[in-house]
Amino acid sequence: MRIAKVLVANRGEIAVRVIRACRELGLGTVAVFSEADREALHVLMADEAYPIGPAPAGESYLVIERIIRVAKAAGADALHPGYGFLAENAAFAEACAAAGLTFVGPPPAAIRAMGDKTAARRLARRLGVPTVPGTLEPLTSDEDVRRAARELGFPVMIKAALGGGGKGMRLVPRAEELGPALRLARSEAGSAFGDASVYLERAIVEPRHIEVQVMADAHGNVVHLGERECSIQRRHQKLVEECPSPVVDAGLRERLGEAACRVVREAGYVNAGTVEFLVDAEGSVYFLEMNTRLQVEHPVTELVTGRDLVCDQLRIAAGEPLGYTQDDVSWRGAAIECRINAEDPFAGWLPSPGTITALKTPGGPGVREDSGVYEGYTVPRYYDTLLAKLVVWGPDRSAAIDRMTRALAEYRIVGVRTTIPVLERIVSHPDFRTGRISTAFLDRVLPELVPAPGRLAPIALIAAVLARYEGLGGGVLRPSPPSSWRWGRPGWTAGPQPGADRSR
C-alpha cells in the first residue's frame, strides 16, 4: 500500500501540523474548510482546499460523506483525522475503507473497543490493569445514574460513555448537585459525540493525570514512548503538559509502558494511541481510558524522544514497519507544552473569539510553536478555543521551565483574550516548579494567580496617552520611514544618556 496524497479532515493547529508532516514526506495535501474557515491557516497552507459546508461542525467537519466525496474528487488516497471531530469515529474509519481511502489511524474495531469507555474499562480489568471503581456499562436513564451514584458514594465523576477531551465530564461533590451536573454533561456529550449516555467513576481526590504514548504497526510491533504528565487542567481540559513526568522514575515508566502495551496488543490496536492513567496521592495507578488518536500534547514526547509521531503515523498507515524497537527509544531532557487558548482565564475561562490584530510569537533556542492562527486572522466562535501550542525543550525540567517563562514573556497576542497570562503565573508557581501538582492544582491556585494591580500601570498610562496624543496629530510620530536607511543620519535619540537618574 502506498500513500501519495492525504486529505486532512480537520482544522486549526493540528491540520497545519499534519500538513507539515505530509510535506516533509513528499505527500500532497488536501484541506477541507467550513464557511467560517475560508481564511483559516490550514486552507492557506495545504496544496488544495475545498469547502464542505456551513460553519457549525455538525454541518461540515462532522459530515462523513462530504469529506469522503472531497477526498475522492481530489484524488487523495489517504485521510488523516487529526484529533476531535471524527478522529475517534469508527463509522468514519469504515467509510474511508469502503471508499478505498487509507485511514491514518487504528482499525474500526479497535476504535470501537476503546471508544466505548466502559468496554475499555472491562478490557483493562480482564488484563489485570487496575481501573477506577465505577459503572462498567453506559447509563442512559437519569434514574440509573442516581442509583449508581448512591452506591458509589460522593464525590463522583460523570463521564460521557463515548467521551474524551473532557467534554461531557463533570465532578459532582454532593448528591444535590447531581441533577444540573448531569444535564450539562449529557448536553455536552450529545453535541460533542452524538450520544448523551454517560458512566460514573468514584472521584479520586487530587489525582495526577499521566498518560502513555504507544505506537503499534501492522506487523505486530508495539512500542511505548514513555509518559506525559497532564495534571494541569481546567474544566477537565489539559492546559500544561510535560514529558517526562516529575514523579515517574524509570521503574514506574517501565510498569506503565508495559501495561499500556498490553492493552494495545489485546485491542488489536495499530497506529498511534494513548493510554491514560490516574495516579492517586498514594501512588496507586488506575487505568482511565485509551484515546485512539493523536493527542494534542504529542509534541512533548517528540521533543524528548526525537521521534516524529505524525510521520510515524503516516508510515504505519502506509503499511511500513515502525522501524524501531523499545530498546531504540531514549529520553533526552525535558519538554513542556502550554496551550494558548482564546479564553479569559480570569473570567471563568470565557471563550474570546475575535480578530487577532497583532501577533508576535516567541523564537530562539528550544522553542517550538504549533499554531493555527496568524496576524489579522479572525478566530471563529464555532470551534474550540485552542489557537496554538507553545512547546519548549530543555536539558532538564528546571531549564525547560526557565525557557517556557522566557518564551511566554515574548508571546504577544492582541485582539483576543488568551491563556498566556495565567500560563505565565502557573509555570512560575513554586508548587509547579517543585512538581507538587495534581488535577486539582489549577482550581486551587487560580485565585492567587489573578493579576496584581499592576506594577506597570504608569507605563500603560503613558503609552495610552501617547497613542491618543499622536492620534490627534500631536507629535506626528510614525513608523520609521524606509528612507531612514538612506544617506543623511537621523537625529540623536531623545532618550536619556546612561547615568541618568534611575530612581523608581
Partner: protein, 167 residues
Amino acid sequence: MKFVATIGDRVESVDITGAGGGYRVSIGDQVWEVDARVIGPGRYSLLIDGVSYVADVSEQEATSVVQVGGETHAVQIEEHMRYLIRTQGGMTARGGARTLTAPLPGRITHVAVQPGDAVTPGDTLLVIEAMKMENEFKASAAGRVVEVRVAAGQTVNAGDVLLVFGP
C-alpha cells in the same frame, strides 16, 4: 496637550508635550522623559530612564487597552476640556439598569429563570454555548428578574441584553 486619564479607580490629569520621538509626560506632579517609537500598528517602543518597554495599544470604544510586560491595563482618556464639560454637566460616567448582557456571541442552551423569580448570589441564570463549551452564568447579587429577553435555542451577539433585574 492636557488629558484626564482613568486607570483602575484612579483619575489622573496628564500633560504631554514633545514630538518626533522625544516626549515629556507629567502625571499629576510626576514628570517622565519618554523616548518613543511606533514599531508596528498600535505597537510602541518606549525608553524611559533607559528601561525598554514594548506596549500594544488597542482602542476599544472609549477605552484604550494597553498590553505591556505581560500586564493588561484598561485606560480611559479624555481631553481635559471635554472632561470638565462632562463632569460639570453633572452626568454620571456609569449607571443604568441592572442587566445581564451576553459577554460573547453564542447560543442559549438553557434559561433557568423567569420573570418574577427572586435570585440569590450563585443561582444559575442561564447557559450560553460557545466554542464547544457550555458557559453557565450565575447571579452575582440578590435581586428579582424583571425581564427575560431570550429563550433556549436562540442565538445572541456580544452585548445583547439577556435578562433585566429589579430590586
